[in-house]
Symmetry: C2
Subunit: 236 residues, 2 copies
DNA sequence: CCTACTTAGTGTGTTTTGTCAACTAAGTTC
DNA sequence: GAACTTAGTTGACAAAACACACTAAGTAGG
């Protein structure tokens, strides 16, 4: 067991113990059901057997920075490599963890759900997708974090190209519009939608590739290389 | 000196030392010079005598949560009570502090500069306003934090009522427009500006009170009670 | 007291943008 | 080959943004 001593510095500061620090992730995916979040059943106290957001401690000496700690937690516990990861907020207070003053740096991730193979090579007791609106009674203050993440996601979806990260690498404009509609919970005008997407100029048609169904085939698109999330100046 | 032992939990997790955790503030104010940021000269190593953002450690057992730690740092080091405080981002890596793996939760604050009395009852070596564009060579990675704060501020100013927090409680619409213009660095159309402000409906005229000068007097306004920052759906 | 000047505050015509719905296109199914 | 479905485009009308000019109400200076 490690005994860690805070180095002396400003006279009165060195006498305070350090808070517990963890990194927690809200991982969103879009399945047939709709928008879902990846949850884990905790194996240890506190909150043993309760569902929680995937999370872990920082490995001082191994993790070079916060984001790589988040990526390690994500990969180590779910086998998922995430194409989109963004810092959400940091929550810290004396009450959120029965073990004492605790700090959680919350991240939110978007993944293409069909890249995920749950319960393969993970050390989690149980890992599962849950519809965002059905998650309840999570460990710690993870419900509050989840609500923050949902708010942030819905806000950004209104104004940005963020939702492409929920799709596979190849998709049609109809599928892209459907992603926006399912997250926002309302229908969008096809003509206006396509105008916005064209102006943002972040997707390119894949020459010759079409999605075939029992109707007119649709052009397949992919995200332009080096794409950074673009923000519209109007709602989508 | 305190020796703090991490409580046992998940088997492999307990062996890692905790990172250093601090709270740092970027405090903006608007003076005759323009947009300025409050800096302190550090009294102790590392980076003794170097200018830095005001900051400090969390007082586990005294601070109830992160935001109150931020308010304590702000008040204790500058004597300023801030009307607007917002969490910016959390930076953590092995290189930013020579003492080891360190974490900084950065906040950004807006204050009405005329409420500030610098160097009165503070324990800081030196405290001063510095123009945001002239700050350079700050301690740690505080320049990066300052740049993040500036980006966030300018983005929000484009789309929100945030700048009122930089003004005294009573102000004219001309003064409010001037705040927007000075932060954004461009002129705004008076007619369009007033339409946006009127639609947002967050300021109310103070009956009978006018700002007198060598021209037509201007109506004085104040912020509507209980105002939360309003976001426009177009640029200001 | 009259004119010039300055900033407050409003109005207006043009241009741009959003909205809605219809239309053509190109496949499948029966 | 007719009916159906979704893809993709077009255009008319309404609404909002923009630029700029106008009126209002004070002070300053002769």
């Amino acid at each position: 067991m490690t005994c860690y001593i805070i180095p002396p510095m400003d006279a009165p500061e060195e006498t305070y113990p350090k808070p517990i620090v963890s990194v927690d992730l809200t991982i969103f995916g879009l399945t047939e059901v709709g928008l879902e979040v990846l949850l884990m059943q905790r194996g240890a106290e506190p909150f043993a057997n309760t569902w929680a957001l995937p999370g872990g401690f920082i490995h001082v000496g191994e993790d070079s920075d916060l984001e790589s700690a988040a990526r390690r937690v994500l990969y180590g516990k779910t086998g998922v490599e995430t194409p989109y990861l963004e810092q959400l907020r940091t929550i810290g207070n004396a009450a959120r963890d029965p073990r004492g003053w605790s700090l959680s740096i919350a991240y939110f991730a978007l993944i293409s759900a069909d890249n995920v193979r749950l319960r393969q090579g993970t050390n989690a007791t149980d890992v599962a997708w849950r519809p965002v609106d059905e998650a309840a009674a999570l460990a710690f203050d993870h419900m509050e974090i989840l609500r923050s993440a949902l708010t942030r996601l819905r806000n950004k979806v209104e104004y940005s190209t963020l939702p492409v990260h929920l799709l596979p690498v190849r998709f049609t404009l109809g599928e892209l519009q459907s992603v926006y509609e399912r997250i926002l919970g309302r229908r969008l005008d096809k003509s206006a939608f396509r105008k916005r997407i064209a102006e943002a100029d972040f997707v390119v048609p894949v020459a010759g590739e079409m999605r075939r169904a029992s109707n007119r085939p649709a052009q397949i698109y992919r995200v332009r290389k080096g794409h950074k999330t673009i923000f519209f100046n109007r709602t989508i």
